[in-house]
Point group: C2
Amino acid sequence: MVLPRAAKTQRRTRIQEEKEERILEAALEVFSASGFRGSTIDQIAEVAGMSKPNLLYYFRTKEAMHRALIDRVLDTWLDPLREFNAEGNPVAEIRSYIRRKLEMARDFPRESRLFANEVLQGAPHIEDELKGPLKQLVDEKAEVIRAWAKAGKIANCDPYHLIFAIWSTTQHYADFDVQVRAVLGQEHAGEGRFEDAARFLERLFVDGLQVRE
Amino acid sequence: MVLPRAAKTQRRTRIQEEKEERILEAALEVFSASGFRGSTIDQIAEVAGMSKPNLLYYFRTKEAMHRALIDRVLDTWLDPLREFNAEGNPVAEIRSYIRRKLEMARDFPRESRLFANEVLQGAPHIEDELKGPLKQLVDEKAEVIRAWAKAGKIANCDPYHLIFAIWSTTQHYADFDVQVRAVLGQEHAGEGRFEDAARFLERLFVDGLQVRE
DNA sequence: TGATAATTTGACCGGTTGGTAAACATTACA
DNA sequence: TGTAATGTTTACCAACCGGTCAAATTATCA
């Protein structure tokens, strides 16, 4: 047999499982650092420690690799927003959403950059996901926020732009990491910037900048 | 003579002026959409309406084009932060900084994406600019903000993270434009999103989300 | 163990990419 | 106007890139 490539014997081999895993891990490393066009199969092969034809045995094309990677990562990526709970205390919910997003920026920066690269370059490969599942999820959560505002539980604000603001401020620490490091300099070298950011953002979103007593 | 390419006769020809302008405009279009590695000289040549060797007559390499473009754009890009005025009213200064940054996201999205692409991919070509001029400018303005906080004129917050928050929230509307459009959908199709964003962000930074009377 | 299926590799292919060489065309200017 | 400097183009090259192929190697299991 020459072209097993899954969906053949129905069952996936142990080797298939392992190798596809290794490839997607390498693909994440490379795609997140260089974007789709900027990445080469050879780079991914080198990171994965396999030969190029071997990669192409598991994923027929570069696009297929990218697609599989995105499918695998997108769900996880949206989890924090899904956890957003209509029943909870509004301010506490927003606060913990910020915290979760910031933790993801710290622990999964490559995933963040994968999407950032993609969206930045016009989202040619994930347009459907954006207009479909993503939009639906955001619409749903925006409705929750709007209800909170209407009930007077939080300030009356545009829920979509609130979500954008949380996304951008938190993902900034993953996507623009080199810039953040460069500006903070050696003196703030450690990982403490994530705690500083958490403190700052929680306060910003809850209290704003104005002084009051 | 075969290699005039500027710095020869000291004076730049009218043709040189015009063509370099056209090339950099085209380079901005292409680099901002695809990043450095993802862009090709042929693409830029086509957008500029010249032949590839003709481009290479004015800029010896792709890198030289990219460098010239960044040098030209960086100053303009940092102008809003430079205008940040220590003497003014703190809240008003922050508010107008947000407004200026948002106007830049609306009017110069390509410039924003150019830097976003670059930073996202590890800033291989602008590391020096980040650690040098950018850091210095931010350090200076952070000191201003810190003084305001110390004087009790604004809430006591980390000035660096405040600047990051303003950068990220405003640039988001340029860098992640497709995502913003996809999520907002057809109903918010016009350019009104920038005004909505301005309203939201000014209120967020000044008042936070909490309700008060 | 042996045969069959699954996996891996080296050699290769056509198209693209950054860049060059040299001939050709145009402009500036004495 | 003539000529030297400047600007433009065609043809080309070597390296790279996505992908194929057939042969070789390894795993599976009757």
